[in-house]
Symmetry: C2
DNA sequence: ACGGATCTTAACGTCAACGTCAGGTTTGGG
DNA sequence: CCCAAACCTGACGTTGACGTTAAGATCCGT
């Protein structure tokens, strides 16, 4: 089974669904943002009431948290985030298909390779960013050392 | 003597100045962006022709490179970038007037300390980002390892 | 079955960071 | 001196990611 993976299917949502207001508050984003994310296909609430009100599950919340992370941390725009999420959805689907009896050995290997390639692609871009950030930090530290030297010199 | 904002000593520009077109092409930004950066006070070209054409020095180019770096790498907006650059200009100016008789010891120490604080503040935010990025990478690597394990298992 | 909080869609507004003309000016090579 | 290329200054347009009403529907506790 999935260890810590959010492979939660909505059969297991246990009734603890959030309205859009509560979800927005917990996430620290606006209701408008949640509707907008849905509008552009980033997320669909786990269910809706017969009257049409959005109900968000915990995995929905986690998904939005990921959206925010990808946005603030990696600086991706919503189109790029859509790509990443689609990849991850694909991976989840592959994992499901993988355990299906009707899936052949060859198919499974193929799917796993595809999944691996997608993840490694993302890792490559992230590592480029990390390297650049390290260089930036090194430069910054050098500047700080020089300023410190100036100070120490003056305090003689 | 235009000693207002840009404290770069371009005595040694050796005539190798770039027009806005060449500068933009080398930097991979638009001419409009360069004019806009000037408009909001991020950069002033090293000189202008008597007719009013902008001429960019190598240090101007370097400055714009820094702007782009701060933008793409740290995700700062132009207002925040203005803050960082002004701080760095200040440090450069302090370094230049280091042996100026008219600056008192106390003044120098105060300025240096102030700049140091600002730099360390920037470093703090950058390091937070770096830590988050590392966590992100670790998670990604874990996912990749699991996928690899799946593959190896199947290749048995 | 009612009323107030919560939510709906639709539509227009906003802001940063430029893009894109239009119409006139400057420059550098021949 | 001439002219095409490069450049200038406004001024208005665009795009992404929402913010903000407006006018009405839905949910839920009593």
């Amino acid at each position: 089974m999935a260890g810590l993976a959010p492979a939660r299917h909505d059969e297991e949502t246990g009734g603890r669904l959030l309205g859009i207001g509560a979800a927005a508050q917990r996430l620290g984003v606006s209701e408008r943002a949640l509707r907008y994310y849905q509008q552009i296909g980033l997320i669909v609430p786990a269910s809706t009431t017969p009257g049409g009100l959005r109900r968000y599950s915990e995995s929905d919340v986690a998904r939005v948290e990921r959206i925010v992370e990808l946005k603030t941390l990696l600086g991706l725009n919503l189109d790029e985030i859509a790509l990443v999420l689609r990849n991850e959805d694909r991976i989840a689907q592959i994992r499901l298909t993988y355990h299906d009896e009707r899936t052949s050995e060859d198919e499974r290997r193929q799917l796993t390779r595809e999944c691996l390639a997608l993840q490694e692609d993302l890792r490559a871009t992230v590592e480029v960013k990390r390297a650049a950030l390290d260089a930036f930090l090194a430069d910054l530290n050098a500047r700080i050392s020089r300023a410190r030297a100036l100070l120490a010199d003056h305090d003689h």
